[in-house]
Amino acid sequence: MLEQEAADYRAVNENPCHMCMPLGAILPFKGVERAMVLIHGSQGCSTYMRRHLAEHFHEPIDVASSALNEQGTIYGGEASLKKGLDNLVKLYQPGVIGILTTCLAETIGEDTARVAADYLREKRPPGLHLITVSTPGYGGTHSEGYFLALRRIVVSLTGRSEKHPAINIIAPHLSPADLREIKRILELWQVDYILLPDFSETLDGPLARPYKKIPPGGTRVRDIARMGGARATIQLGLTVDDAISPGCYLAEECGVPLYKLPVPTGLANTDLFMELLGQLTGRPLPASLARERGRLLDCMIDAHKHNAQGRAVIFGEPEIVYAVTSFCLENGIEPVVVATGSNDHRLPGLLKNRLEETGASPCFLREADFQRIREKSREREANIAIGHSDGRYLTEKEGIPLVRHGFPIHDRVGGQRLLSVGYAGSIMFLDRITNTLLESKHQNYRLRLYQAFYRPAGPDSRQEEG
């Protein structure tokens, strides 16, 4: 059995590999039509998260705060929360408000569900849905915050629904470009679907006039209401705990058959997605997708010898880490360190078969920080890193080049446009990885071979030219 090293022994996190629950919970709301978020806590939380998200998506990220001060902390924040809701409605006229808690609100025992219910009873705002999510910063990472918010959206908005032929697609934390690619694939299959969340437009909007404070797009509330009557749910999330899984809720409460699939990055994972769509529709793989599959295989062959030299350190959210690790395995890249900042314990088990097939035996880290990831990467001689921007620390300290993938990408433009799902996305992702290996080899091979094989006549025999 593969072992995973946890960080229980450690009193200090040195350079975090994860973020807090409310940050993750903001995103699903950004993928719901006319939704806004209010964070119940001190002013700084919403400001920091807005900054972090704005730097990744390069889009306005308007998130309100109840701006709890000392008085609210001592006497309770109900008045601040209600006032916050009033003002948010005046400024944005949203259809949905997600109310997220913070460490502070949770610890002083704020009952946001009760306050929200009171608010709706007192004010009767027409057509406004309030959805509360309990997201203490110490309760989990942004990955758990993301799925918990998704589940709360489904629980709050899905009612009794007639059966209908659409398929629910529950998406994990992917890029807007990935969400657009999934929609394109579904349209090629001619599948009627409800994608939740859908921030493909709201967090990567075109320049348009006039400017809208809440960008158009997102899953429609009336579609979420119908999710309970869908033919099936495809949840792109294997690592999600049942207790926070939207798909499990729809299966248990509404009897919607649930299929859990990995993120369709790589040939094998995309095949799984296509197989299932074939099963559910009774149709064959659309010809254009078949051609894309062939091109991916062609690309894998072109690059396989270069990739065989890759020793990868992979880090980030568990669901993404799972997809990237299996992607590396099918391309002959050896994963040597597989790390997540979350407390996920499923990864080694989920990857067991694929690892056994290839004989790879990576070191698994959970609740990892970058200090530990760095130590292990050096020990296992990683030569490529795949993960979010904070991995640039590995480049700086250990000279391991980084292929930016996931969230946050805050030191490059285009995080919102990175495409890595489906056959077409996998081609682009693989090219990024292979080219990074090629570049790294070119930069180092002269010196490496010189040091390995050249027998100098004297200590200073090699002169720099020019």
Partner: protein, 466 residues
């Protein structure tokens, strides 16, 4: 356009924070808490303290709290170091639910032990976050015990997020700094031509630029707070004969304290823009009452002004008649920016700050033309409204504001923490002019105004109407 009473503001309470010069009786509400639900851009107490202290290069900066606070501030400031790099790590006690219930003091003590053993720092700062203030961990006691145990200084920073806003964090940082620099055994002997530079964080080497100016005047830069400062250098702070204060918002409190307790007078200075830089150098020179120093200042000003005159002139030609909006953290920066824009032939038509003080707003109000909108703690909706109403061509702000400007089709200039080019001194003024030109005169705006190809006559109007 009649918004003198701001009657059309969605949240009436905000009207007191907005003032149009020449249309209203003077007076602006500031230094108050943010209003709930209004999407304030402000940060929290912890943020204020962290940004001020973090540039101290050889200290361990340990955040006592859940992970988010450390995660969002890891290496956030582009503060440069001439030596140690320890400050570029983000250490956190990563509090979990269990710690919140049983208290985090033991974990904190272990965290300090582990970090001191591993990195042997001369100094540890321990930052309190919201949660620490609520669960009542005794930071003072833990730090005192740790200091005694390890024989180094371990300084608590009382920065619970909800206890005020960013300005309260500045005061907490100043209090922590004062504990560090207060001479233990009586006042040290004063060095006669020695200057402390307060309120510069050495973003892109700005402290080094100002340090070289002082040197050319025949003065010694004793220590800068806190850009490129070390434990050792800070310990000598009380020996200087003059404090010059750049970021008054963050350092005014400490300057007052040092005047009162160490007998060191201070001057408010600014090295943003040609006018303020020259003026500041003259006032520093005059302080020493030595005509040789004044002579050297005049020579430096003449030489450096001439060196950048060409750049400024050519930019001025391209920018004449443009209108700018400014939304920055503190009042001092806003004041300097207005003068700097004037040097470039640009009028400031909207100006706001997050934490400006009453006196600063009075100066701002004097400086600007009639009709300019001044606002405290603005939100995105207000920035949008006033920038469009006043016909601004560009916005100066931070990361959160950038996407809004771009979505509105406006140019943008970063005046934030992580920039990689200096904006201080004569060279900084030239960089600023170039940056303004690069965004205002970019060819991209031409295409924003170009009709969509193939659109029917009516369909093209949206782009042309901008």
């Amino acid at each position: 356009m009649a918004f003198s009473g701001h009657t059309e503001l969605p949240v009436a309470e905000r009207a007191a924070f907005i003032y149009t010069k020449g249309r209203q009786k003077p007076g602006l509400k500031c230094e108050a808490d943010s209003i709930a639900g209004c999407v304030s851009q402000r940060a929290c107490v912890y943020c204020g303290a962290r940004v001020v202290l973090n540039p101290i290069t050889d200290a361990v900066h340990l955040v006592h709290g859940p992970i988010g606070c450390a995660s969002y501030t890891w290496d956030i400031r582009g503060a440069l170091s001439s030596g140690p790099e320890l400050y570029r790590n983000s250490f956190s006690t990563d509090l979990k639910e269990r710690d919140v219930i049983f208290g985090g003091e033991k974990k904190l003590a272990r965290a300090i032990d582990q970090l001191v053993e591993k990195y042997r720092p001369p100094l540890v700062f321990v930052y309190a976050t919201c949660i620490v203030g609520v669960i009542g961990d005794d930071l003072e006691a833990v730090c005192r015990v740790a200091a005694r145990k390890h024989g180094i200084e371990v300084i608590p920073v009382q920065s619970s997020g909800f206890a005020g806003n960013k300005a309260a964090g500045y005061r907490a940082a100043c209090a922590a700094l004062w504990r560090l620099i207060e001479p233990a055994g009586g006042m040290p002997e004063k060095k006669s031509l020695s200057v402390n530079y307060l309120g510069d964080f050495n973003l892109a080497g700005e402290v080094w630029i100002v340090g070289s100016y002082l040197k050319q005047l025949g003065l010694e830069l004793n220590v800068a707070f806190t850009g490129d400062a070390t434990y050792r250098s800070l310990k000598n702070a009380a020996a200087a004969s003059l404090n010059i204060v750049q970021c008054a918002g963050s350092m005014h409190y400490l300057a007052e304290k040092m005047q009162e307790s160490c007998g060191i007078p201070y001057l408010n200075v600014s090295f943003l823009g040609l006018e303020d830089t020259a003026d500041s150098l003259r006032r520093i020179a005059r302080f020493f009452g030595d005509h040789r120093i004044e002579q050297r200042a005049e020579e430096l000003i003449a030489r450096e002004t001439a060196a950048v005159a060409g750049v400024i002139q050519s930019c001025r030609k391209k920018l004449a008649g443009k209108r700018a909006a400014v939304y920055v953290g503190g009042g001092f920066k806003a004041i300097s920016l207005i003068k700097q824009f004037r040097e470039l032939g640009i009028d400031v038509v909207v100006v706001g700050t997050q934490t400006g003080r009453r006196q600063e707003y009075a100066v701002l109000s004097e400086l600007v033309d009639n009709g300019t909108v001044i606002l405290d703690d603005a939100n995105p909706a207000e920035l949008e409204k006033f920038m469009l109403e006043k016909g601004a061509h560009l916005l100066v702000g931070g990361v959160k504001e950038r996407p809004l400007a771009y979505k509105l089709g406006l140019a943008f200039v970063d005046h934030n923490h992580d920039r990689k080019h200096p904006l201080s001194g004569f060279i900084g003024a030239a960089n600023f002019a170039r940056e303004v030109c690069s965004t205002v005169c970019s060819p991209v705006w031409r295409y924003v105004h170009t009709p969509v190809p193939g659109a029917r006559a009516g369909g093209a109007v949206w782009a042309a109407a901008l």
